[in-house]
């Protein structure tokens, strides 16, 4: 056991792992042109292995885990000296950075909040994943929602749950489609999914109680079966508070359509508390672990709509602390080494 631990701490292992990370970085960056940012990130960086023509190769998580362990072992097996204080501190900082990255990878959630002026919202919509929601709106005090995640929306899948009084068979699910009419019936025209998930508009064909139902992501008329409503929508994460948009303001450069700055004036309704805030570019709102950023907006005739990016991330503080430590370490090292390296020449 000890032999393996010492082996991982060897500089050679670090070298090879680092070199592979560099190759991975280049491959993943170039791949983004073809398969889009999100897909490339998931394939090369946010996973353990990826396959190249059937051959499994280590991906981001694996390599960074190896580097983390290697650095960790090295740190505790080498001598701590005044002379290498700089490098020691830098390495501790690097470990913190990697650890923070790990925390972010396992705990962060992010999405969009789209709010029209004068309206409020209390959920975040996921950028990529969809869900099929069945709503029971009978109770005047609250709605009961049963949600089937996107991974269950496959052809020939049967969707059933104790809370839903009927069974739904998935005939087909399309990530990107246009719904048209043919002979008074709705039909689905499938489109090639775009690499940018924001451009995809999904649709699903369900078989319920002997009938076909075509439901699109942005249907204006909700599909009702009995006293239940069925919606196809982006995965929602509900927040314990409401965000109300009072006013969205866009400032443009004089005589130019380019936006100089945009901001959203909001009120957070948390139970009885009303929390006023102004969310601006480069100035987000932080509340109870969630951070709200001004992302973009949608113009409208009567009112504007703000689009906020919302992130919850346990590992948020780590990069800040780690960076300070790394820089202190590098500075110490520089000041110790540079005089001898510059060399006095006559």
């Amino acid at each position: 056991m000890k032999k393996w631990v010492l082996f991982i701490g060897k500089t050679e292992v670090f070298f090879i792992a680092l070199l592979w990370l560099i190759i991975l970085l280049v491959a993943g960056t170039v791949a983004q042109k073809d398969i889009g940012l999100y897909a490339a990130q998931h394939k090369y960086f946010s996973s353990f292995f990826f396959s190249l023509k059937g051959l499994p190769l280590p991906a981001g998580f694996t390599i960074m885990a190896i580097i983390f362990v290697s650095l960790f072992v090295k740190l505790f097996t080498q001598k701590w000296h005044k002379n290498n204080a700089g490098t020691l501190v830098t390495h501790i900082g690097a470990l913190m950075l990697l650890f923070g990255g790990f925390l972010t990878a396992i705990s962060s959630s992010e999405g969009n909040m789209v709010i029209r002026e004068g309206e409020s919202a209390h959920y975040i919509e996921d950028y990529h994943h969809l869900e099929l929601a069945v709503l029971d709106t009978e109770n005047p005090k609250h709605d009961t929602v049963t949600v089937f995640p996107e991974r269950m929306l496959k052809s020939k899948q049967l969707l059933k749950h104790a809370s839903v009084p009927f069974e739904m068979g998935v005939v087909s699910f399309h990530k990107n489609a246009i719904i048209g009419m043919s002979d008074g019936e709705k039909i689905i025209n499938e489109l090639t999914p775009s690499t940018e998930d924001e451009e995809n508009v999904s649709a699903i064909n369900l078989y319920i109680n002997g009938q076909n139902y075509v439901i699109g992501e942005f249907d204006t008329l909700p599909t009702r079966i009995g006293n239940r409503t069925i919606q196809l929508r982006h995965k929602r994460t509900y927040l314990p508070f409401y965000v109300e948009l009072i006013d969205f303001e866009k400032q443009q450069y004089a005589g130019s359509p380019m936006a100089r700055e945009y901001s959203s004036e909001v009120i957070l309704h948390d139970g009885d508390i009303e929390w006023h805030s102004l969310i601006r570019m480069n100035e987000p709102l932080r509340y109870k672990g969630y951070t709200f950023y001004q992302s973009s907006f949608i113009e409208g005739d009567t009112a504007e709509t703000t689009v906020l990016a919302v992130v919850k991330n346990l590992g948020r503080m780590f990069p800040y602390i780690a960076s300070i430590i790394i820089c202190i370490g590098l500075l110490i090292h520089l000041f110790q080494r540079i005089p001898s390296l510059l060399g006095r020449k006559k």
């Binding site: 940012l37 005589g255 130019s256």
Partner: protein, 622 residues
């Protein structure tokens, strides 16, 4: 020695002050403010940007009168006497296929007049419309260029009609009409002067127009004539590019003459200002240049009193445009390089001292240009790709000067003159796109992060490039079989430069992550630009660790320095070619080719020089 440098520097700084010509009309005219693309700028910048767009150069040569015309002089002719300007061959069509498509004759200097081109465009109008309706990817290169030319002529035309409402072109012949309009008979007036009557004229014309010409009185016939002339001039009312009139209430808005009247934001002062412009028009059109110069100076002094903008910055900007500090520094860097080459071949110390002076002067001019930009734009000078090139240039030269001062072995001169010249040259190409002091998109509108993240990362790039050139020097000296202790000195320098580069690159990348966390909600998004920065950091870490542990010897280290150059080029320019991600900006066609060429040359250098060195090592050991 040092005193000589000091005197030369002082002289250089004093020169512009001495060289300021006596207040001439054109100088005053060039500093008059105009709003374009969200920024109040002097007419000089407006003129240069337009001339660059149309002509590819920021000044033209008048072959008829054998004189050079500055951009400002050209613009003055365009707006005050367009009929003449339309005949000047200013439009640059460098692609012979586009010239053929327009059925024009190919000329040596490939410059064509507005008159020639509009005639040609009229014939090809259907084709151009079809090209415009197609989506961008489907157009061929020549079709895109033809469409761009068409759009340029539209812009040129719009600007040329900016002052048409000030030209006296409408005359009343009937004495009753003249009385009613309160004007002198048989004297030409401008649309601007007759504007106050516009509503009454429109009301009366409705009644008169229905009559048959035979039934009209002389006054009514003249009325129709005047109204018709006014309508003809009013066709130019869409000309809105030349926004010279400030809004004295809503201080952010500026209007073009044609926009002022409908906007209703005029005031007695803006009316006075317009009258001065009318006087300028009249003087220019009648050829009374003395009067024009006088009125131009008056107009500039007047607007400087009432305009809600910092007028000192306008004058500074015109000075900056005239001095062209980055072109001047390019010349000095090239001179330093040439002197250096001669000093290596011919040995006298004087040549290398002169090279050092030339390099320092270049750095001073370069730096003064940057400082001027900071003052004019009121922000750190590193927000666009162009600015990053200029900034990396000065960083590289400063570091090179430090190295040369410490080591005195010409290595600093090599680094400074080569990097300085190359980077300024690349920068010049980007400067051709027009006004380089544009406004920034919302997310970049933060001086703090611009001053920290972007500055740090560009310093990091600069240091990497310095290390890259050092690597070249080491390899060439090794191939030429220089003594080992000289090589070791360079090796030590390479390591320190790399450590400094590593510090700035890592700090800069992390600051970028923090900015992203503050702005977009995530510290790291595997964005191409972020990956590029990480690539440089990881590569430097790998190389430094390799060197420190003895894994990589000085020879291998020097090779990795050259590879660092390639990494920097890819991270800096290459990622923009991928066109994805939040950082996608600064795309220029042709960049792909030049980038590939650079990487190709560096790779070739690595292969050839290492092959040579290894071969000779083999031979010696045999």
């Amino acid at each position: 020695m040092n005193r000589l440098i000091l005197i030369l520097c002082l002289l250089f700084v004093a020169l512009p002050a001495l060289a300021t010509p006596p207040q001439q009309g054109y100088t005053a005219f060039s500093t008059i403010p105009v709003l374009q693309d969200g920024r109040v700028k002097p007419i000089d910048t407006f003129a240069r940007a337009l001339l660059l767009t149309v002509n590819g150069k920021s000044s033209i040569y008048d072959e008829v009168n054998n004189q050079k015309l500055t951009a400002t002089q050209w613009l003055a002719e365009l707006i005050f006497n367009p009929a003449n300007s339309y005949k000047r061959p200013v439009f640059n069509i460098p692609n012979p296929q586009v010239v053929q498509a327009l059925e024009l004759e190919w000329q040596q200097k490939h410059r064509y007049s507005f008159t020639e081109i509009t005639k040609a465009i009229r014939n090809q109008f259907e084709t151009i419309e079809k090209i415009r309706l197609q989506s961008e990817e489907k157009r061929s290169l020549e079709q895109q260029q033809l469409l761009d030319l068409y759009l340029k002529t539209l812009q040129y035309f719009q600007v040329s009609r900016s002052l048409s409402l000030l030209w006296p072109s409408i005359t009343a012949h009937d004495k009753h009409l003249a009385k009613w309009l309160n004007v002198e008979i048989k004297k030409p007036y401008s649309y601007f002067q007759l504007m106050k009557n516009h509503q009454d004229i429109s009301k009366r014309i409705e009644r008169i127009r229905l009559k048959k010409p035979a039934d009209m009185s002389d006054m009514e016939k003249d009325f129709v004539q005047v109204w018709f002339q006014m309508e003809l001039v009013a066709k130019d009312s869409t000309s809105e590019d030349f926004a010279i009139i400030p809004d004295l209430w809503k201080k952010e808005n500026w209007y073009a003459p044609w926009q002022l009247l409908p906007s209703g934001s005029g005031s007695p002062q803006t009316a006075e200002y317009m009258r001065m412009w009318q006087k300028m028009s009249e003087a220019y059109q009648t050829g009374d240049m003395a009067a024009w110069h006088q009125t131009a100076i008056q107009a500039q002094e007047f607007i400087y009193k009432i305009a809600p903008t910092n007028t000192n910055l306008l004058k500074l900007e015109v000075l900056y445009n005239t001095l062209q500090p980055f072109q001047a520094s390019l010349a000095l860097y090239v001179l330093a390089f040439v002197l250096l080459i001669f000093s290596i071949i011919f040995r006298p110390i004087l040549l290398s001292r002169l090279s050092f002076i030339s390099l320092s002067m270049g750095a001073l001019v370069h730096l003064s240009g940057l400082i001027m930009r900071i003052i004019i734009m009121q922000r750190p000078p590193v927000a666009t790709l162009y600015e990053s090139i200029i900034f990396v240039g000065i960083i590289a030269v400063i570091f090179a000067l430090i190295i040369e001062t410490k080591r005195k072995d010409k290595s600093g001169l090599i680094i400074g003159s080569s990097l300085g010249a190359v980077l300024q040259f690349i920068g010049m190409r980007y400067a051709l796109e027009g006004d380089t002091m544009g406004m920034l998109v919302a997310v970049l509108n933060t001086n703090f992060w611009l001053a920290t993240h972007v500055v740090t990362i560009t310093i990091g790039y600069g240091c990497c490039l310095v290390g890259g050139v050092l690597g070249h020097v080491y390899l060439i000296q090794k191939a030429l079989k220089y003594k080992t202790n000289r090589l070791n000195n360079i090796a030590k320098s390479m390591l320190s430069v790399t450590l400094v580069a590593l510090f700035f690159a890592v700090l800069g990348t992390i600051l970028g992550g923090i900015w992203a966390d503050q702005s977009w909600g995530r510290f790291w998004g595997w964005d191409p630009k972020e990956n590029g920065a990480m690539l440089i950091c990881l590569w430097l870490i790998w190389v430094v660790h390799g060197r420190i542990t003895g894994f990589i010897k000085p020879f291998g280290f020097a090779l990795s320095m050259v590879i660092t150059n390639i990494a920097v080029a890819l991270a800096w320019f290459g990622v923009n070619l991928l066109g994805v991600g939040l950082h996608s900006y600064g795309f220029t066609s042709g960049i792909a080719f030049n980038l590939a060429l650079f990487c190709g040359i560096e790779t070739l250098f690595i292969l050839v020089i290492s092959g040579y060195i290894l071969y000779h090592k083999r031979r010696r050991e045999a």
